[in-house]
Point group: C2
Chain length 426, copies 2
Amino acid sequence: MSSPDPRNGRGRGVISRRGLIGSAGVGVAAAGAGVLAGRMSSPAGAGTVSPTVPFRGQHQAGIVTPAQDRLHFATFDVQTTSRAELIELLKTWTVMAERMTAGHEATPDGAIGGEQYAPPTDTGEALDLHASKLTLTIGFGPSLFTRADGTDRFGLAARKPAALVDLPKFTGDALEPARCGGDIAVQACADDPQVAVHAIRNLARAGFGVVSVRWSQLGFGRTSSTSTSQVTPRNLLGFKDGTRNIKAEDRDLVDKFVWVDRGDDQGWMAGGSYLVTRRIRMLIEPWDRTTLHEQERVIGRTKGTGAPMGGREEFDELDLQSAGPSGPLVEADAHVRLASAEELGGIQIMRRGYNFTDGSDGFGHLDAGLFFIAYCRDPITQFVPMQNNLARNDALNEYIKHVGSGVFAVPPGVDAQSYWGSTLFD
Amino acid sequence: MSSPDPRNGRGRGVISRRGLIGSAGVGVAAAGAGVLAGRMSSPAGAGTVSPTVPFRGQHQAGIVTPAQDRLHFATFDVQTTSRAELIELLKTWTVMAERMTAGHEATPDGAIGGEQYAPPTDTGEALDLHASKLTLTIGFGPSLFTRADGTDRFGLAARKPAALVDLPKFTGDALEPARCGGDIAVQACADDPQVAVHAIRNLARAGFGVVSVRWSQLGFGRTSSTSTSQVTPRNLLGFKDGTRNIKAEDRDLVDKFVWVDRGDDQGWMAGGSYLVTRRIRMLIEPWDRTTLHEQERVIGRTKGTGAPMGGREEFDELDLQSAGPSGPLVEADAHVRLASAEELGGIQIMRRGYNFTDGSDGFGHLDAGLFFIAYCRDPITQFVPMQNNLARNDALNEYIKHVGSGVFAVPPGVDAQSYWGSTLFD
């Protein structure tokens, strides 16, 4: 890197993330791209335009967007009691989020171009990285509206959707409070994990004194496809996961099961959705000592192709009626049966989960599993009955444990003038 | 996937990982590649040969191999008291490791091609994934040779290298026992995290009853380059890290500072190395509230280009002599000065660290930092004096905390007939 960036008064010869990819300073960016291309750690070559997902629109990105490879999910407790401060932060976050999803720094020249005797306003670890399809999606937990004692914290109680209530206790729940809830959730998805981590960290940084991180979760591999353009990935049970997931291309299903309609409940949620998370610890050691026959019986699909029992290919129809060699072809307690629309009066959800491995559990096992994320139009009529059915009857329960949980109202997308949550606050 | 795999008697139409990439069954593999190519979750297109790193050789892979993007590192406690059982496991692991690094399943047709009424011998989550440059590197901790009370556990005490002793307590150490030590360490590096996780998990699975996982660590982004072909990545302080690292192409430096020579100590370690790990928690919130000037003063480099103080470009010479505006150009307690060969009597190490973010710390902060990995010819004369100098004097200590630690003797590479650790046991 031999020529100094003219926008940097300190003559350090730096091409910032903004300089490289931003729409401002195109001449500099073009010159910089040639210089930097060989130095990027991402696989894109010289002149490649980084893939970006538009931030603004009717709906928030990161819901029906084709699921990116990596996740950093965080929830925040709101510390301030000032509604104005909270709104101010949401406005700041909106600007930062739009910038970062476009491949820019969180703030203009934030990492190195600012005042030398002030803290940088971008933490810098994504300076050389592409946008990597980053999406940032915000949701509001029940506790943002009212405390457990009923306190109306920010004058929002009257606008709390009926669908936004803490999930009931399900059979077998082993929830750890430190992995549950949160006033605000932000989901960062990107194809580069450092880009997702950078985004969450910079939002947390900007929120200092107003919000604090309650819990966060990294996911290293997606476990669902949300688009017909994607292959079905495998979860840590070794099975393809999400074969029957709603795909973005199924517009009718998306409208029916994902987006909140204007007449559903609170008007401010129109175009929004509800996000449910469950940190599902997989007891992979017992699972790994189970026979292939039992594993396939429990799931209701073959492990190789992912075909349903009796089928030959992954997307063959799920046959819940036929008899098999010993009882129903797909057994009564098989996971696919219990989670199927056929068994649940037609309900479906859009899943967007990720595999995780967080060290060991202190007992000689890996702490691994599935960080379940689902979007639905109404958690009470979609997720809750599905999870009740699974929690009570699923043969898989012997091998999994739900240790974290959260439900969040995801407001609609932001238009050119608005900010995250503006339909709620304005 | 329309045609059944003829090697699969159950007619499931599955192309296994082995079938796709393996050297056996080339006809099937070729046919399968065309079918599967559009379904791979990795970016490789049809007909692309997955990049693999050779497993066997004079040295173990994963040391001077260009650092891959993702890490899963685990240590194990040996539970058996039988030397024969331990050797048997190491032989089994060697076969599995060689297979997995070549992009095969851990065992032939292990996930779905075996006996239906037996547990699968591969856990399956990497079935559709490429080798992704996977390397697996093994090391033996001091506790494998002798217990703290001096017990010779496996008749290895006389072969314990003088260089393999627990690290001394350094100033400021805040080590958590559950993140320290281990009888055996395995480093899995790959460009796909699911491939690295799969590898560690399958080794752990095969070791059931003989070893158990002590701790494990995921790293999402590399923080060092080990080859001149790589760009210098950024750590979570936002700075380029490892600019002055030894590169594989510096053959003289590698021989001098990385590989154990025949005359050094125990003959069985010739061609091996020593691995030092430190889990370094970064106190990123205080760091993020520090001025750019202070950050750069602490590190001794500019944040943008990574140029040393007074320099213009990253690889400009580190000037430890000149005066700056207020005292030395590179201050007395700057990180780069204290870690420099110039200040340490010429010693160097080869670094191979990774960024991590493991949820939150329970106090509103992300638990994030650097999982430091270094390889050296002798930890006592290389790592220990360097870390002593840093632990006592480094201005960076205000922003970091060492919470995990380990040192392991890394045996030489395995030739065609031998297994991991054969020079130690045979």
